[in-house]
C-alpha cells in the first residue's frame, strides 16, 4: 500500500463542524478578554479617580466639567498633611501595623511550619478553623471586646488594637508561611541533621534563609491588613486613633477635596506594598509561580 487517501485541497472551505469550533474558540477569547477588562476597570477606575482628585485644586474637585488629567496641584495634600492630628494618627497607624506584623509572624510562622511539616490529628480542621476566624463578624465581637478591654485597661491603646489586627492578619500569615515551608524539601532539613545540626539549627541555617523573602512578604501583608482596618480601630480607640479611624471621624465633615487627599494617603502605601509582594500572595492559594 503506497497510495494514501487524498487530502482536501489547500484552501478548501472547512466543514461546518470546524467552522463552529473556530467560532466557539473566538467567542471564548472575547468573553475572557471582556471579563478581564471589566474586573481591571472595576479596581483601577476608583483608584484613578481618587488620585486625580487628590492632585487637583479644590475648585477643580467641586467644579464641572471634570478633567481626567490631574493638574498636580499639591495644596489639598499639603493642607491635609498639616491638619492637626494627622501626624499623630499616621504614627499610630504605623506603630499598630508594625506590632501586628511582628506578632502575626512570630505566632503565625510556627503554626505554618507545623501545618507544612507534621501530620497531626485534626490538621484539616485546624486549617479550616484558621480561615473561619475571618468569617466571624467583627461588629459582633466589638462590644464584648471593648468591655473586656476597658476591664483590663487595654482600651484606647496601640497594643490592644494591634492584638485585634493580629487576629485578623493571622489566617493569612499561617497559610502563606505554610505554603512557603512546604516549598522547602524536607530532605534539605534531613541532610542538615546528618551534617551535624539539631532540629533548630537546621531550621535556622537551611529553612529560614530559603523562606525569608516569603516571610518578609507575609509580614508586609499583615502590615497592610492592619493599615487598612477601620472598624476595630474606630471602636477601640478614642484618643490614640489610627489614620483610618481618624479620617473616618474627621473627614466626614470635611470638604470633598480633603476627603480625596485622605483617601489617596491611605490607598497608596497599601497598593505599593501589595504590588511588591504579589507573587507570594499567589503562593498562599497554592499557585506556584516562583
Amino acid at each position: 500500500m503506497t497510495a494514501t487517501a487524498p487530502l482536501p485541497a489547500h484552501g478548501a472551505a472547512p466543514s461546518d463542524e470546524i467552522a463552529r469550533a473556530l467560532d466557539l474558540a473566538r467567542a471564548k477569547r472575547w468573553l475572557v478578554a471582556a471579563v478581564v477588562t471589566i474586573l481591571c476597570l472595576w479596581v483601577l477606575v476608583p483608584i484613578y479617580l481618587v488620585l486625580v482628585n487628590a492632585l487637583s485644586t479644590p475648585s477643580e474637585v467641586s467644579g464641572w466639567p471634570k478633567s481626567f488629567v490631574p493638574s498636580f496641584a499639591m495644596e489639598s495634600l499639603a493642607f491635609f498633611a498639616g491638619y492637626r492630628g494627622v501626624a499623630e494618627a499616621l504614627l499610630n497607624s504605623v506603630m499598630v501595623a508594625a506590632i501586628t506584623m511582628v506578632l502575626s509572624i512570630v505566632i503565625g510562622a510556627p503554626a505554618g511550619y507545623a501545618l507544612a511539616r507534621f501530620d497531626f490529628a485534626g490538621k484539616n480542621a485546624f486549617r479550616i478553623l484558621v480561615l473561619m476566624t475571618r468569617a466571624f463578624p467583627l461588629p459582633l465581637l466589638a462590644l464584648p471586646l471593648a468591655v473586656a478591654y476597658i476591664q483590663i485597661g487595654l482600651d484606647d491603646t496601640i497594643l490592644g488594637l494591634a492584638f485585634v489586627h493580629t487576629m485578623l492578619a493571622m489566617p493569612f500569615a499561617v497559610l502563606i508561611t505554610a505554603s512557603l515551608f512546604m516549598g522547602v524539601p524536607f530532605e534539605l532539613e534531613e541532610a542538615a541533621w546528618t551534617l551535624g545540626c539539631t532540629r533548630l539549627q537546621a531550621f535556622v541555617k537551611v529553612v529560614l534563609p530559603l523562606v525569608s523573602p516569603g516571610i518578609a512578604a507575609s509580614a508586609v501583608f499583615a502590615f497592610v491588613v492592619s493599615w487598612n482596618e477601620v472598624f476595630a480601630a474606630a471602636v477601640l480607640t478614642i484618643e490614640n486613633r489610627t489614620l483610618t479611624a481618624f479620617l473616618l471621624q474627621s473627614l466626614n465633615v470635611s470638604p470633598l477635596h480633603l476627603k480625596f487627599a485622605g483617601a489617596a494617603v491611605l490607598v497608596l502605601p497599601a497598593l505599593l506594598f501589595l504590588f511588591a509582594v504579589r507573587k507570594y500572595l499567589f503562593a498562599m492559594w497554592g499557585i506556584a509561580n516562583r
Binding site: E187, L188, W193, T194, L195, G196, L210
Partner: protein
C-alpha cells in the same frame, strides 16, 4: 573500626509493618548494597540506621557503639539523598563545608578538606556556583563530596543514581566505585537496580516484604538465589522456573528426566538461568516464539510445556520463530526450589 550491627530491628507505621526483625552485620570497610523492589523496606532500614526514622524495636550499633537512641548528628554517619538535597542558598563550597563548619573546624582546615573532596569528585571548578546553576550529575557530585568531606564512619546512600539519565548513571557508577574503594569507608547503598547492585557491592542484602531474604556476595546471590523471589528479581532476563515431578528415575521436567535432590516431595521446582543452556540432542524441548538479537547474543523466548522460557544463545546460531529447539541445561547450574516455602532446596541434597 566501623562495622554496623543491626539486631532485631522492627519498624511499623500503625498497623503496617515495614521491617520485620532485621538482623544485619556489615563489616568494617565493606560496601553493602540493600537491594529490593519499591516498598520492600530498604529505604526505611537505611533511614533507621541514619536516625531519620525511629525504630519500633531493636538495636543499631556503629563501630561497637549503640547509636539507636542518638539523633543523626551524633551517629558519625553521612548520607547522600535521592534528590541530592544540595542547599540552594549556599555555594558548592559552602555546601561541602557545611558539616565541617558545624564541627567548628578552623577555616584553613575546612578549606583544605573541601578542596580535597571537590578534587575527588572532579568539581573543583564549580566551587563558587549555586545548585541552581548545576546539572543533575553535578549536584550528585556535590552531594557525594559533601558526605565524603565529613570523613564519616559510615556512608549511607539512598538511590543516589536513580535520578540521572542512563548514560550518566553508568559513568557515575564506575566513578563512585573508584572513589569509594579509595576512601574505604563502610558504605550502605540502597537501590532497586540489580545491575547497579551487582557492579558495586562487596555483598548484597536482598530485601523482600520487610525481610532480608539473602545476604551474600553478588555472584552467590546470582548463582544461588535463596528464594524464588531472588532468582526472579535478580538477573535480566530472570531465572526460568519449571515444575518437576518425582519419578522412579529422578525428577521429570517438561518431559525430560534428570537427577535431582533426594527429598521426600511429589512436586518441586526446577530453575535455570537463561544463559546456562546449550542446544543439544536431548534436552528440554520447546517451540520458539520470539527471537531478539542483542548483538553478541540473542534472546530467545520459547514455550516449554506451556511455560514461558527464555534462553540466551550465541548469535551465530540460526533460530527462527515456530522452530522446535532442544536445550540441555548445564547440570552444575541447575537449582531446585520448594514451591510451598518458595525457598531453595539445600544443594547438599543434590547428587553431583
Amino acid at each position: 573500626m566501623a562495622e554496623i550491627t543491626v539486631a532485631g530491628l522492627e519498624k511499623s507505621y500503625g498497623s503496617f509493618t515495614a521491617l520485620h526483625g532485621i538482623d544485619l552485620h556489615v563489616e568494617d570497610r565493606e560496601f553493602l548494597v540493600l537491594l529490593g523492589a519499591s516498598g520492600c523496606g530498604k529505604t526505611t532500614l537505611l533511614r533507621c540506621i541514619a536516625g531519620l526514622e525511629t525504630a519500633s524495636r531493636g538495636e543499631i550499633a556503629i563501630g561497637g557503639r549503640r547509636v539507636d537512641p542518638l539523633p543523626p548528628r551524633a551517629r558519625k554517619i553521612a548520607m547522600v539523598f535521592q534528590n541530592y538535597a544540595v542547599f540552594p542558598h549556599l555555594t558548592v563550597f559552602e555546601n561541602i563545608a557545611f558539616g565541617l563548619r558545624m564541627k567548628k573546624m578552623p577555616n584553613a582546615e575546612v578549606d583544605e578538606k573541601v578542596r580535597r573532596a571537590a578534587t575527588m569528585m572532579h568539581i573543583e571548578q564549580l566551587l563558587a556556583r549555586y545548585s541552581g546553576q548545576l546539572s543533575g550529575g553535578q549536584r550528585q557530585r556535590v552531594a557525594v563530596a559533601r558526605a565524603l568531606a565529613m570523613e564519616p564512619e559510615v556512608l549511607l546512600m539512598d538511590e543516589p543514581l536513580s535520578n540521572l539519565d542512563a548514560l550518566l548513571r553508568l559513568e557515575m557508577r564506575a566513578e563512585l566505585k573508584g572513589v569509594l574503594q579509595e576512601s574505604r569507608t563502610t558504605t550502605i547503598y540502597v537501590t532497586h537496580d540489580q545491575v547497579e547492585a551487582m557492579s558495586l557491592a562487596d555483598r548484597i542484602a536482598v530485601m523482600h516484604g520487610g525481610h532480608i531474604v539473602q545476604h551474600a556476595s553478588p555472584l552467590d546471590v546470582y548463582r544461588d538465589p535463596a528464594t524464588r523471589f531472588v532468582g526472579s528479581f535478580i538477573g535480566n532476563p530472570p531465572m526460568n522456573f519449571l515444575p518437576a515431578t518425582r519419578t522412579t528415575a529422578g525428577w521429570e521436567v517438561a518431559g525430560l528426566t534428570m537427577p535431582g535432590p533426594a527429598i521426600d516431595a511429589h512436586t518441586i521446582e526446577f530453575a535455570v538461568r537463561p544463559e546456562d543452556l546449550t542446544p543439544a540432542e536431548t534436552g528440554l524441548t520447546g517451540r520458539v516464539k520470539v527471537v531478539e538479537p542483542l548483538g553478541a547474543h540473542q534472546l530467545v523466548t520459547m514455550d516449554v510445556a506451556g511455560h514461558h522460557f527464555r534462553v540466551v544463545l550465541e548469535s551465530d546460531l540460526v533460530v527462527r520463530p515456530g522452530e522446535t529447539l532442544r536445550l540441555a541445561p548445564r547440570p552444575e547450574r541447575v537449582r531446585w526450589f520448594d514451591p510451598t516455602s518458595q525457598t531453595a532446596i539445600d544443594r547438599s541434597l543434590v547428587p553431583s
